[in-house]
């Protein structure tokens, strides 16, 4: 009898330890699991991210047995390329990280290859209910599974060099209110071009560009949406609508005339050297705008940045794009996926999310954090630009509708092709326009340069 009892006891102990392990999904504080992390919070955001990673490792990570190791800090476009390379196992490609920031367009490609962990398994329904629903929706790819977890959302706004604009408006009567519509923006751009042209009387037609769009593809989608149609239908671009023609011509017209830039980089690049006055781009780019600009002779001028809501086409609806990245988790072991879930929860908890937001300019992702930001918390944010940005973003949050671009595998290619084609077309037309400028009036030159171009483009 006694013997049987002893055997039973031993068995009970063994089973208990086994079940104990199960509850922790194999995580053990004495034997931590290492997660490699890629992110695009470099440059001015790096210090914040470094600190948060270290803090996680020293608190929750040490407690549960997780070590986060950052193995790449690159721009989101570079990360996209690296991840595609890694997913395709191209020669010389880096190893897939365990967690990485990514855009929906990257995530969808990898999800289709079956490389991503389903994050629904790491979060209970109650936990998911804490997040802004449309942010979660954007991360549900391949039907309904949550592959991309919202960590850093953004939208697009109008960044304005107030210092230069004030100087300009004093002389020309240009107003901020004009920048509320795209048409008003184009008018102001022409005004600026003429004003700067006049300042160099020896050279004609060397006026400066006023405005740059970071993403023509986004602009086209949102513009059409504002005017009541879709640009992407059945995973293909629809050039047939009137709205599209209006949107296309809007950019083409000002670009050919030299009021808008035709440039492959980001607006912040051009802003540093004073080559533009305003731009539309992601709220995530706020830190990339220097507090001063550098002229060709190395003199610098402090810049006050003004952040306005995204412009609307006249007669159109108040719609802006929902952007921003999330993080996805590569499919691997139970323990690693569970560990990644723990990090995501920690990183997006309202307190940590707000801390991240206050130093980067991304938007909060939980309903709680959004609520808090609306209150006095916003006053405590040290960075003036970020404070301005968040105020504008909150305003837009309540007044605008947000457009979520379709998530399907080919959208990345469509994006690239459209932008390349449009910029190329505009560049060529501009060259023609510039050659004709000396000989005829501006309008005639433009008509000549743009003859048949739209038809050729939409063929």
């Amino acid at each position: 009898m006694k013997k049987r009892f002893v055997i039973f006891l031993i068995l009970a102990l063994v089973l208990a330890t086994l079940f104990g392990c199960q509850r922790n999904h194999g995580l053990d504080a004495k034997n931590p699991v290492t997660l490699s992390l890629w992110h695009n919070y470099g440059g001015q955001m790096k210090a914040t991210m470094d600190k948060m990673v270290d803090e996680f490792n020293e608190t929750v990570g040490a407690e549960k047995g997780i070590i986060l190791s950052v193995t790449s800090i690159s721009s989101s476009s570079t990360l996209h390329e690296k991840l595609i390379m890694a997913a395709n196992r191209d020669p010389g490609s880096p190893m897939m990280p365990d967690i990485t920031t990514a855009n929906p367009k990257t995530a969808i490609i990898l999800a289709k290859k079956g490389l991503l962990a389903n994050l629904d398994e790491q979060f209970s329904k109650k936990e998911l209910a804490l997040y802004v629903p449309r942010f979660l929706e954007e991360g549900r790819l391949e039907g309904t599974q949550l592959y991309l977890f919202p960590t850093a959302k953004s939208t697009e706004v109008l960044f304005l060099n107030k210092t230069v604009f004030d100087r300009f408006s004093k002389n020309t009567g240009a107003r901020y209110e004009d920048l509320q519509t795209f048409e008003g923006l184009a008018k102001t751009a022409k005004l600026y071009y003429d004003w700067t042209d006049v300042q160099t009387p020896e050279t004609l037609n060397d006026g400066k560009t006023f405005y740059h769009m970071d993403s023509l593809f986004n602009f086209t989608q949102v513009g059409c949406k504002q005017l009541g149609t879709d640009f992407i239908v059945n995973n293909r671009s629809d050039y047939s609508t009137e709205a599209f023609q209006r949107v296309w011509s809007y950019f083409y017209g000002s670009a050919v005339r030299g009021y808008f830039t035709i440039y492959d980089g980001y607006a912040s690049d051009l802003a540093k050297t004073g080559d533009i006055v305003c731009s539309t781009g992601s709220t995530a780019g706020v830190l990339f705008f220097d507090p001063f600009l550098t002229y060709a002779d190395n003199t610098t001028e402090p810049v006050e940045l003004m952040i306005l809501p995204y412009p609307i086409f006249e007669g159109g609806k108040e719609i802006a794009i929902q952007r921003g990245s999330g993080m996805f988790v590569t499919k691997s072991t139970d323990a690693k996926e569970y560990a990644a879930g723990i990090f995501l929860k920690w990183f997006t908890s309202p307190k940590n999310n707000l801390r991240f937001v206050a130093s980067t300019g991304y938007l909060p992702v939980t309903k709680d954090a959004f609520g808090e930001v609306m209150s006095e918390e916003i006053e405590t944010i040290k960075n003036k630009n970020i404070k301005t940005l968040l105020t504008t973003a909150i305003k837009m949050q309540s007044n605008y509708d947000f457009y979520i671009p379709p998530r399907y595998e080919g959208i990345d290619v469509l994006n690239k092709n459209y932008e390349t084609k449009l910029k190329q077309t505009a560049k060529e037309s501009r060259k023609t326009y510039q050659t004709l400028l000396g000989k005829t009036s501006n309008d005639d030159a433009f008509n000549e340069a743009s003859k048949g171009v739209f038809e050729a483009f939409t063929k």
Binding site: K3, V6, I7, I10, K30, N31, P32, V33, T34, G42, G43, Q44, K46, A47, D50, K51, D54, N57, I67, L68, S69, T71, S72, I73, S74, S75, T78, E81, K82, M85, G92, S93, P94, D264, G265, Y266, S268, D269, K272, T273, L287, F288, T294, A296, D297, N298, T299
Partner: protein, 531 residues
Amino acid sequence: MENESKRSIGITMRFKLFLFLVMLVISMIVGVFVIFTITGTLDTGVRETQKDVEKGLAQISKDITEEYGQYSAYAIEFSKELSRSIEKKLEIHGLSTIDLKNHPELLEEIVGGEYERSVFALQTSKSSGVFMILDATINPSLDNSKNSKAGLYIKNMEPNILSSSSAYLLILRGFSSIGRHNSITLHSQWRMEFDVTNAPYFNRLIQAGTHHDLALSRLYYWNPSTTLPGTSEEIMLCSVPLIDSKGHVFGVCGFEVSEMLFKLAHMPDNGTYQRIFYLLSPRSEDTLNVSEAFFAGGYSARYIAQKDQSLMVQDNHPFSSYQREDGTLYSGLHKQLSLYPEDSAFADEKWVIAVMIPNEDISSAVINSKLQLTLLFTLLLAIGIIISCYLSKRYLKPFVKIIEMIKSNDFSEVSKTKIAEIDDLIGFLSSHKEAIKPKIENPENLEIKLPSAVYEEFVKNTDLLSPAERAVFNLYVEGYTAKEITKILSLSINTIKTHNKRIYSKLNVASREELLVYVNMLKEVGKELRR
């Protein structure tokens, strides 16, 4: 009477055997333990770790010496080519490098003209950045223009990815026109010129370059980990002076190695110790300067927020210990690196490569393995005891059976046990069954012939009986049982028992049966016992 016999047997065979087996198990375990201790198998864990760490350290030391030697070599080549090229360009304008300071209008053209060469050098060296800083500024009339220097700094954000396109190149310093002309974007922390206020990678080199007796290969300098003003990335710079054919130093150039590049190239194997990391650090006496060091591994001994951190080094065995200012301890090993040749202008700069583990990880690993061993030995002991218990029972089963059998006197159910001795005994007993049986059953039929002396003595002894005892004895002689005697004499059974005892001892018999044997024999012989 049966109870008495049982009590006097003592420990059971089974228990004794069980004890012997347990002793065997214990002595075996102790023996194994002693062998482990003698051969040092118990310490193997720690010793193996030390060997692995030493090996890892030797390997990375070799790798870094080679790798950084390569970077240095490339930097020297780059400097030679660059200085030649710039000198030639200035000659075309009828100028020499000394005039550079006074002709800022030429800077953009000169620097811009070296873009291709710089990108090529960057890609060949596989470093994360290439730079050149000229001792001139584009606008000498500005404040602090003394410390503002024109130049070019191109970063490769993904040096590990071979790419023919310039997709990963960014301009960190230099004329924005260079970026625009070559379709390269400006880095988010771009400035037009270099701020060399606190830049040993410029100032020390300009100074050192004036030593005309030293070859260029003795003039390169590795700037410890730092961030350029206004930037966030930790980098090391290998800087070489730009010297023209007449020996005039007019700038510096070189390559950048970012901490990320270092980390990716030298990740330690964290199979045994998850928080193991490498540290490439300048050394001054017995401290390692953590703020100027590179880390590789998932863990870093550096707190982000603090500046001027250092580790105190204490040589020890098997591992050295390193202590942070707040008391945190690390164990590991380190090795001196020779980044410079002996006669370099910077030969005094001491560098060290170290491999470290937080102290608590090593001690917890040691405790873990000891605990594991203890648990295993205990488990072994427990299993040994259980098996001993079972074996002793199994082994003695046939013996127990045979004893029961003998007691029950029934040999018909016996099956051969296949144990030689037992089967032999069974055989013996069953053949002598009849001989033993009757003798035991019927004392009245005894036909033992006892010598007359024994009879005489018995009879004589009966005279010793007291009257009370005699009364009892007579009744026995007549054939009454003890119970019947209690009734006849009106005595308690205990009294009868007491009398019995006395009677037996006086008559020298052991039991009533024996007594009756004597009595019956005497009856037969005709002796009269009744008095």
